[in-house]
């Protein structure tokens, strides 16, 4: 049983989606995350155990990304493999048998239409067992506030690529904090630094998806 979940974890780390996927080359023709999850569930491996193995796989690839050993494409393949697992685990989430670690509301702030970095963070966070509520791009503070209201106890992630929209990011942090002072907010994006994040009143800053996951896990309720 352990072997089955460990293999799924390896598929997540290596980005092996399913048997027909040619990536990675050295795993061509082997079962991927998709087939292994179906088999594991049939053998009685619990969804929690599968999810835990996935989290380990995502954490490993995230750490490699943080060390510049792999790049965005590898991370995307891992997210895709994770997605294949989640397709089979979704019914267990819906029935309440498996619980997400928490809720993460994410969006690109008003005035900014860039979404690839934000999507990448969303995929990695989801792969680490969080429920992600993606508000999209050009998101006004009021929409974030509504999402916080609808998703009690959530953590918020704000993304911006432009230096001009950092002003909107600061405004969004301030408006959310004014209504929900206890809500934790993490910010990220090319023009940001730790100092700028602190200055705008955010609780966390991460230059990469794995840092966001670490922040979320530290702030588990």
């Amino acid at each position: 049983m352990n072997d089955a979940s460990e293999k799924i974890g390896v598929c997540i780390e290596r980005g092996k989606v399913n048997k027909s996927s040619p990536y990675p080359g050295d795993m061509a023709g082997q079962d991927g995350a998709d087939e292994l999850t179906v088999s594991a569930l049939e053998w009685g491996v619990t969804p929690d155990k599968i999810l835990s193995a996935c989290n380990i796989g995502m954490q490993r690839i995230g750490e490699k990304f943080g060390r510049n050993e792999v790049f965005v494409p590898e991370l995307l393949m891992s997210a895709k493999a994770m997605n294949a697992v989640m397709t089979h685990l979704k019914p267990f989430f819906q029935s309440g048998n498996v619980k997400a670690k928490g809720k993460f509301v994410i969006g690109t702030v008003a005035g900014d239409l860039h979404d690839i970095g934000k999507n990448l963070v969303a995929m990695v966070v989801e792969g680490n067992g969080w429920e992600v509520i993606d508000l999209g791009v050009d998101v006004k503070p009021s929409k974030f506030i509504s999402a916080v209201k609808e998703n009690s106890g959530c953590i918020v992630g704000l993304s911006a690529l432009l230096t001009t929209t950092m002003v909107n990011m600061a405004k969004t942090v301030s408006e959310i904090k004014a209504v929900y002072p206890g809500t934790k907010i993490i910010v990220g994006g090319a023009p940001l630094t730790y100092d700028k994040a602190v200055k705008m009143g955010a609780d966390g800053y991460s230059p990469d998806p794995q840092g966001t996951v670490e922040f979320l896990n530290k702030n588990l309720l």
């Binding site: 494409p73 997605n83 001009t164």
Partner: protein, 250 residues
């Protein structure tokens, strides 16, 4: 390469340059380099996807490029400022020293249109996230490649009158406030090359580049002084060609 250019406004020295996809030298290796595989091979699967994206990119790029040549009316050392046709720019202390010996400036804009961007978005929505990412990365590399061609074209034209040119600098980079994008476009015809600006200075189509190039007898082209800039993950840091190193300022 000699590119054909057409006047948009002769009096104001505004031109559009004809560039087609086949003029570009974009390669799979260049895109691999731009997304991180610098000095190492990208996995074969990824290279195949880049090839697939490039094979369709020609049909999806609506290339437009143009520029305006303007006399620099005044320079202000204290403010690191330049006055161009009554518009005052503050390109800050990284860019200003490179431009201050210039007598004229080329304000340029380049775009590949919206199709690549829409295609990438559609691929992401369909769950083809890797190809969506590669399409976005290819679009960024393509628009930079076109800007390289425009830069070379301006260099060739200026050489005809024995003038040299500087590097190109864009609002939002090298500490030049991106909000001055509005000032830059105020010097160009409305909707120049099909580009418009959002309130937050984002160019639409997103895959566009704008900027300034200094022109003069005593200016020079130099390597990017990336170590003077605080933005560690800037496009131009990562876009350095293999073997090209950032200048370390002592």
């Amino acid at each position: 390469m000699s590119l054909k250019y057409l006047p948009v406004d002769v009096e104001k020295e505004i031109y559009e340059v004809e560039i087609s996809f086949k003029d570009l030298s974009i390669t799979r290796k260049e895109i691999e380099h731009d997304i991180g595989y610098s000095g190492i091979s990208a996995p074969e699967h990824f290279s195949g996807i880049i090839d697939a994206v490039l094979s369709r990119a020609a049909d999806k790029c609506g290339i437009r490029a143009g520029y305006r040549i303007i006399d620099i009316q005044k320079k202000e050392d204290a403010n690191h400022g330049l006055l161009l046709d009554g518009v005052f720019f503050s390109p800050d202390k990284i860019i200003y020293p490179q431009i201050k010996k210039a007598e004229r400036a080329a304000m340029f804009a380049v775009t590949i249109g919206r199709e690549m961007e829409l295609w990438s978005g559609e691929l992401f929505r369909r769950g083809e996230i890797l190809m969506g990412y590669m399409a976005d990365a290819a679009a960024s590399s393509i628009v930079e490649n076109i800007t390289d061609l425009l830069h070379d074209h301006i260099r060739s034209r200026m050489l005809e009158s024995e003038m040299k040119i500087t590097n190109r600098y864009s609002p939002g980079y090298c500490n030049w406030n991106v909000s001055e994008q509005h000032l830059l476009f105020s010097l160009l015809p409305k909707n120049f090359c099909g580009i418009s600006l959002t309130e937050s200075s984002l160019m639409l189509p997103v895959k566009s580049v704008s900027g300034i190039i200094g022109i003069g007898k005593n200016v020079r082209y130099s390597k990017y002084n990336c170590n003077r800039c605080a933005v560690k993950d800037c496009t131009y840091r990562t876009r350095r060609r293999p073997g090209e190193k950032a200048v370390v300022l002592k």
